[in-house]
C-alpha cells in the first residue's frame, strides 16, 4: 500500500489532476484577489511605505464584488473542459489512492458541469451589489450600516464560491478514489461544503433550518457509513477497493462484518442519493436552499452518491452470474419504496422546489432499481455494463434537465418568488421561452420522448427487461405460467411504469399552471443573462441528448467510461 505521503507533484501528476488543480488555483485566486490592493506597509521606524499586494483599499478591478463569481465560473469552465478532454486519455494512478480514468473523468465532468451551471446561475441569484464603499466618518449611522451590510454581503460572495469550489474538489477527487477511506473523506469534504451552502441562504428564514436539518441527518448518516466502513476494515484490513473486491470474491459464504459493513455504508450513500427512508431531510433542504444549490444537491450530489454505490456495490460486491448479492433484496425494496414515495409525495406538493425534490427522490428510486438488477445476479457482465451505462447516462442528463428546472426556479427567485406553485402561474405568458424550457425539463423528467430523460429511462428499463425477461419458463404457453416463472426483477420494470405514470401527473401539473393560469403580474422577470443562457443551454442539450448525434456521443462517452470501470 502506498501511503498518502508519497504523493509527489511532478508534471505528469499535475496534468492528471489538471481539473482539480485548476479549481484549486481558482480557490486561491478567490481568496487572494479581492485582497489585492494599493495598501502599503510602513517600515517601522521610518516613513518609508512599501506597497504590498494584500490589504488596503481596492483597485477598481479587484474591488468588483462579482470577481469571485467570475473566477469560479472561469475555473469551472476550464476544469470542465479539461475533464471532458481527459475522458479519452488513458488511466493514471495518482498516489495510490486516486485514479484518473474515463469513469472518474466523466463524473468529474458531470460534477464540474453542474457546478458551472450553479456558478453561472448564482451571478444573479446571489447578486453582488455594485459600488460597495467603506463607510467614511461623514456618513450617518444608517448610511454606514447600510454600507457595511453591502460590504458584508459582498464578502459572502467570496465564501459562497469558495464553498462551491470545495464541493467541486471533493466530488472530483471522490470520483477518482480507489480507496474506500479516501472516497468517504472526499464525500465528507463535499458534503460539509454543501451543508453550509444549503444554510448559506441566510436572508430567508428557512435557510438555517434547512441547513441544520440537512446537516444533522447527513452527519448521522455518514457516521453510520463511517462505522460501516470501519467494520469493513475490521473484516479485510485494507480499504483499497481492489483488495476489498478480491477479498469479497474469496469469501466463503457471507461474513457478517462484511455484510453489515456494506449495509451500513448503504445508509450513508442512501442519504446522498436520497433513497427512502434516508431522504426525509432532502425535501426540506431543497426547499430551504437557494435553487441553484438545490439543483446541485439533486444532480451532482446525487451522482456522487451513485459513484459511491458503484464503487461499493458493483466494484466490491458484484455477484457472479446467477448468484444473488446479499444486498439485492434490500436494494430492490428500497428502490420501489423510494420511487413510490417520491412520486406520491410530489403529487400534491404545492412548492415547486419541494416537488422537484421529491421527483429527485423518485429518480433515485429508478436508478436504485436498475442497480438492484445487478445484484440479482441475472444481469451478467454485459447486463451489468448496460445498466451502469444507463444509470450513468441518466445521471449525466439529469444535470441538464433537473438542474435546468432548478435554474428556472432560481430565475423566479431573483424576483423573490418561486416557492409556491402560484409563482409559476402564467409564466408562459410572461416568459414564453423560459416556460417552454421548463416544460421541456418537466417532460424530460417524466421521460417523454424524444428528450434525454426518455432515452435514459429507456436504457434503464431496457437493462431491467433484458436481464430478466429471459428468466421466464421458455416452454410456458400462456401468460400466467410465464408470469409465474419469471424472476420478480421483471416487475421492477412494471414498478417504473406505474411510477412514470404517477409522476407525469405532477410534472404536467407544473407545466399546466405555467400555461393555463393567468399570471399575477405581467411583468417580465429580471434579465439575468447568464442564468437565461444557462437555462437555454440546458434546454437545448436536453433535446439534443435525447436523439441524434449528440446523444450518441454522450452514450458512447458513457459507455467508454463504464468500460474503464468494469473492464
Amino acid at each position: 500500500m502506498i501511503s498518502l505521503g508519497q504523493l509527489a507533484l511532478d508534471s505528469d501528476t499535475a496534468f492528471t489532476l489538471l481539473p482539480e488543480l485548476v479549481m484549486l488555483s481558482g480557490l486561491l485566486a478567490i481568496i487572494l484577489i479581492p485582497n489585492l490592493g494599493d495598501a502599503s506597509f510602513r517600515i517601522p521606524l521610518t516613513n518609508l511605505r512599501v506597497p504590498i499586494l494584500i490589504g488596503g483599499s481596492r483597485f477598481e478591478a479587484t474591488n468588483d464584488p462579482r470577481m469571485p463569481n467570475r473566477i469560479a465560473t472561469l475555473a469551472f469552465s476550464v476544469a470542465f473542459a479539461a475533464s471532458l478532454l481527459m475522458i479519452d486519455s488513458s488511466s493514471e494512478e495518482v498516489g495510490g489512492m486516486l485514479r484518473s480514468d474515463a469513469f472518474s473523468r466523466l463524473f468529474s465532468a458531470m460534477f464540474i458541469g453542474a457546478l458551472l451551471l450553479v456558478s453561472a446561475a448564482s451571478t444573479h441569484r446571489i447578486p453582488a451589489k455594485q459600488n460597495a464603499r467603506a463607510p467614511t466618518d461623514h456618513d450617518s449611522e444608517a448610511t454606514a450600516s447600510r454600507k457595511i451590510s453591502i460590504l458584508m454581503d459582498n464578502r459572502r460572495q467570496v465564501d459562497f464560491y469558495i464553498l462551491l469550489i470545495m464541493v467541486g474538489l471533493g466530488m472530483s477527487l471522490m470520483a477518482m478514489s480507489t480507496n474506500l477511506f479516501m472516497l468517504v473523506v472526499c464525500i465528507e469534504l463535499a458534503s460539509l461544503s454543501t451543508y453550509v451552502l444549503v444554510a448559506f441562504h441566510k436572508e430567508e428564514d428557512v435557510g438555517g433550518e434547512a441547513g441544520a436539518k440537512y446537516f444533522i441527518v447527513g452527519s448521522a448518516a455518514s457516521a453510520v457509513g463511517i462505522y460501516g466502513m470501519s467494520l469493513l476494515y475490521l473484516w479485510s484490513g485494507d480499504l483499497a477497493l481492489e483488495s476489498l473486491a478480491t477479498k469479497w470474491a474469496e469469501m466463503e459464504g457471507i461474513d457478517p462484518f462484511a455484510a453489515f459493513g456494506v449495509g451500513l455504508m448503504m445508509v450513508a450513500f442512501g442519504f446522498k442519493v436520497s433513497a427512502a427512508p434516508f431522504h426525509l431531510a432532502a425535501p426540506d433542504a431543497y426547499s430551504g436552499a437557494s435553487s441553484p444549490i438545490s439543483g446541485l444537491l439533486a444532480t451532482a450530489s446525487k451522482a456522487m452518491g451513485f459513484v459511491a454505490l458503484f464503487r461499493v456495490l458493483v466494484m466490491i460486491t458484484v455477484p457472479d452470474y446467477g448468484e444473488q448479492a446479499p444486498w439485492f433484496l434490500m436494494l430492490a425494496i428500497i428502490a420501489v419504496i423510494t420511487m413510490s414515495w417520491g412520486n406520491l409525495a410530489a403529487l400534491t406538493s404545492e412548492n415547486p422546489k419541494r416537488m422537484l425534490a421529491y421527483s429527485s427522490v423518485a429518480h433515485a428510486g429508478y436508478m436504485l432499481a436498475a442497480i438492484s438488477v445487478i445484484g440479482s445476479g441475472l444481469a451478467g457482465e454485459e447486463g451489468t455494463r448496460l445498466i451502469l451505462i444507463a444509470i450513468t447516462f441518466h445521471l449525466a442528463v439529469l444535470v441538464l434537465f433537473k438542474m435546468g428546472a432548478f435554474l428556472v426556479l432560481s430565475l423566479l427567485e431573483t424576483d423573490g418568488s418561486g416557492h409556491r406553485m402560484e409563482d409559476l402561474h402564467g409564466l408562459g405568458k410572461r416568459e414564453p421561452l423560459i416556460a417552454g424550457s421548463m416544460f421541456l425539463f418537466m417532460l424530460s423528467l417524466a421521460g417523454v420522448p424524444p428528450l434525454s430523460g426518455f432515452l435514459s429511462k429507456l436504457l434503464m428499463v431496457n437493462g431491467i427487461v433484458s436481464s430478466s425477461a429471459g428468466t421466464g419458463n421458455s416452454s410456458a404457453t400462456d401468460v400466467y405460467s410465464w408470469m409465474d416463472t419469471v424472476d420478480p426483477v421483471f416487475w421492477l420494470a412494471a414498478a417504473i411504469v406505474v411510477n412514470s405514470a404517477l409522476s407525469l401527473f405532477y410534472y404536467l401539473r407544473l407545466s399546466l399552471v405555467m400555461f393555463f393560469e393567468e399570471p399575477a403580474s405581467s411583468s417580465r422577470l429580471k434579465s439575468a443573462s447568464s442564468l437565461r443562457m444557462a437555462i437555454m443551454a440546458c434546454a437545448i442539450l436536453t433535446v439534443l441528448c435525447g436523439i441524434g448525434p449528440v446523444s450518441e456521443w454522450l452514450v458512447s462517452l458513457v459507455s467508454t467510461s463504464i468500460d474503464s470501470l468494469v473492464g
Binding site: V224, P256, G263, F271, L347
Partner: protein
Amino acid sequence: MGENKSETGLLVYIIPFLAIVPLMQNQGWESSDSAILIVAVPFVTFPVILVAGQLYNGHETWKDKLKEGGILALGALGTSLMAAVWLVYDYFDELPDFGDQHSIVQWLEWVSFDLLQSDYTLTSSKNILGVGVWVDSITLMLLFVATFLCFLICWFSLGYMNTDPINEDRNHRFYGEFVLFALGMFGMVLADNFLWLFIFWEIMGLCSYLLIGFYYWKESAAYAAKKAFLTTRVGDVFLMVGLFILYDIYGSLEFSVIFHDPSLHGTVDSTQLFWALLMMFIGAVGKSAQFPLHVWLPDAMEGPTPVSALIHAATMVNAGLYLVARMVPFVDVGHHGVPGLEDLGLIVAYVGGITAFMAAAIAFVQNDIKKVLAYSTMSQLAYIFTGLGSALWFYNNDEHHAAVVVFGASMFHLFNHAMAKGMLFMASGSVIHEVHHAHDHMHHGKDGEHGHDFDPQDMRNMGGLASKMPVTATAMMFGSMSIIGIPLIGGFWSKEGIIAETWLAALEHEPLMIGPAILVLLTAGMTGFYMSRMWFMTFAGEPKNEVVNHVHEETPWIKEPLIILTVITAFGGFAFALLGATDYLSSAYDYSGHLHLKKSTLLDSIIYKLEYAFLPENQNLRVIGWITILLSFIAGPIFAARVHGGELSAGESASPAVSWLVSLSGKFGSQDVTSLSESDLAEALENRLYFDDIYEGVLAKTVVPFAAFTAWFDRNVIDGVIKQIESNSVSGSLQVRALTTGSARDYILMTAVGMLSIIVLVWGIS
C-alpha cells in the same frame, strides 16, 4: 305571387336539360350508355340546387325564374325521364333472354377484394362489388313509373310548393332533396345487384327522412321523420344481414350470377337461404310499411304533399315490393330454384294480408285526407305483398302458371297503384292547398286567429268541393275507382288477379293460405268504403265549413299532372291490362317459355283477358271474382254513400264528369253512425290499434333508461376507476407527505429504522 298567370313560359329554362339526351343520341350513344344519365344528371343537379339555393336565397332570378331550383329539378328529372323512355323503348320488345341475361352495362367497380378460402389460399380472382344496369320487364316498368311520376310530381310541386308562403326561401331544399330522392329511386331500379339496390334504397330512406322533416320546426314533423328513418332502419339492418348471408352463399350479389343458378347445382342449404330471404323480407317490410313496421307511414304525411305523393305512395314504398319480386328466382323450382321455401311465401302473404286488413280498418276512422290515403297506401301495398307471397308459394311448388299470373298481377297492381296513388295525393294536395289558401284569404289581416285552429287537411272542414274543384274532383274520383277496383278501371285488373290467385292457393293447394285470402277479400270491400268515404266527405254533400265557399282551383302547375294521370288511371290501366301487361311483367321470370298466355291476335288477347277476369273457367275463381266485385264495387261505396254522401248545396253544380256520382251519393239515404264511431273499436282504430303507443312505451321504458344507465356506468364505474385511482393517489400523497414531519429527530429516527431494516434484511440473507 303571380298565381293567376300561367308560368309555363318558365319551361324554356329546362330546354338545355332536355337537349342532353337527343344530343347524346346524335353522338352515337346507345340507350344503355345513356342510362347513366338517368342517375348522373340528378346527381349533379341536386348539390347545385342545394348550394345555389343557399347562396342565392331570396334572389329575384332564383325565386321567380328558377322557382327556387324547381325548374332545375324539373329539367334534371326531364332528362332522366327522356333517357328512361329511350331505354324502355329500346329494350321493351327485346328483353334479353333470361338464361344468359346479364347487366347491359357496367358502371363502376366499386370495391374489389380477395377472400381467404378454407385451404388458406386466396380466391383466384378478385371479387368485385360493383354496379351496372339490369334490364328486365319489371325494371322497365318501375323505371318508367319512377321517372314519369317524379317528373309529374316535380311539375306539380312548382305550383304547390312555390305558392305557399311558408315555403318561401326553403324550396331549394325541397327540390334538392327531391332530386336526390329521384336519383336514389332510379338507381335502385336500375341496379344490377342486391348491394347497390340496398345502397340506393338507403339513399331514398335518407331523402324520405329529409323530406318528411321538411317543416323541421314542427315537432310532429321532426318526430315523424325520425320515426320513419328509424323504423325503416330496423328493416334495413336485417336486409343488410340478409345480403351478407346471400353473399356468403353465392360469393356475389349480382343478379346475373345469382339468378343464373340460385341453387348452385342443388348445393344450397335451403335453411340458410330461407333466413337470408327472410331477413331481406324484413327489410322490405320496413320500407313498404307493412305490419309490424308500418307505424312510420301515417306519420310520414307530415311532409309536404308532393312528397307524400311521390315517396310515400308512388315510388319509394314500392322498393320493398321490388325487393320481394327479386326473390322469385330463388324459389322458382322450375328454374334452378331452391325447394323448401314455401314458408317464405306464406309469411309474405300473411304479412300482406294482416297489413291490408288492419290498414283498411284504421282508414275507416281517419278524418285527415292524407292519412286516409296513407292507410290506403299501406293496404294496397299489402295487397301486392299478398300477391307476391302467393307467387312465391306457387313458384316454390312448381305451380308455374298460377305463379306467373299472380306475379304479373302483383306487378301490374304496383303500376296501377303508383299511378293512381300518385295522382290521389296530388289531388289531395290540390284540395289542401286551395282550402288552405282560401282560409288564408278569408282571414287575411286577422292575425289573432291565423290558422291555428284550422286544419286544411281535415275532411270535416270540407264537403261539397265537387263544384269548386272540378279537375281535382274528377281526378280523385278516377283514382279512387282504380284503388277500389271498380271493374274495367286500372286497379281492377290487378287486384282481381291477386285475390283470385290467393284464394286459388288457399282452396286448392295450401290451407294455410286461407288467412291472407280471407283478409284480402274483406279488405276489398273495406277499400270500397273508405275510398268512397273520402271522396264523399270531400266533394259531395254540403260544405261543412264556410271556407269551402272561397275555394278556387287557381294555382298554376297543378292541373296538368292531374289531368295526365287521370287519363292514365282511367284508361291506361284498362288498356295495358287488355294488352297483356300482366303477362309482360311476369315475363321477367318467365324464361322457360312454356307459357303462352299471349294470344295470337290483339282481339283474342282482349277477349281472353275479359273472360279471364269475369268468367274464369275455374269455378272457385269465378265465385271469388264476383264476390270481390260485389264487395268492393257495391257494398263498400254504398255504405259510404249512406254515411257521408249527399247533394251539393243549392246553386252549386259539379262538372259533368262527377256530377252523376254526387247525385248518386245522395240516393242511398243516410245512416247515423255516431254510436259506432264512439265505440271502443273506433277509438282503438283512431289510436292506430295502439301500435305506436306500445312501441313507444316499450322503448321509453327500456332503451332510454338503459342508455342512461350505460352513460352513468361509463362515467361512474369505468371512468370511476380512473377517478378512484386519482383520488387515492392524492390521499396517498397527503399521507406520505405527512410522514415528512419537519422534525430532524424523526428523520434521524427513520434513518436508524432504515439502517436496522437493512441489517435485518442482510442478516436474513446471510
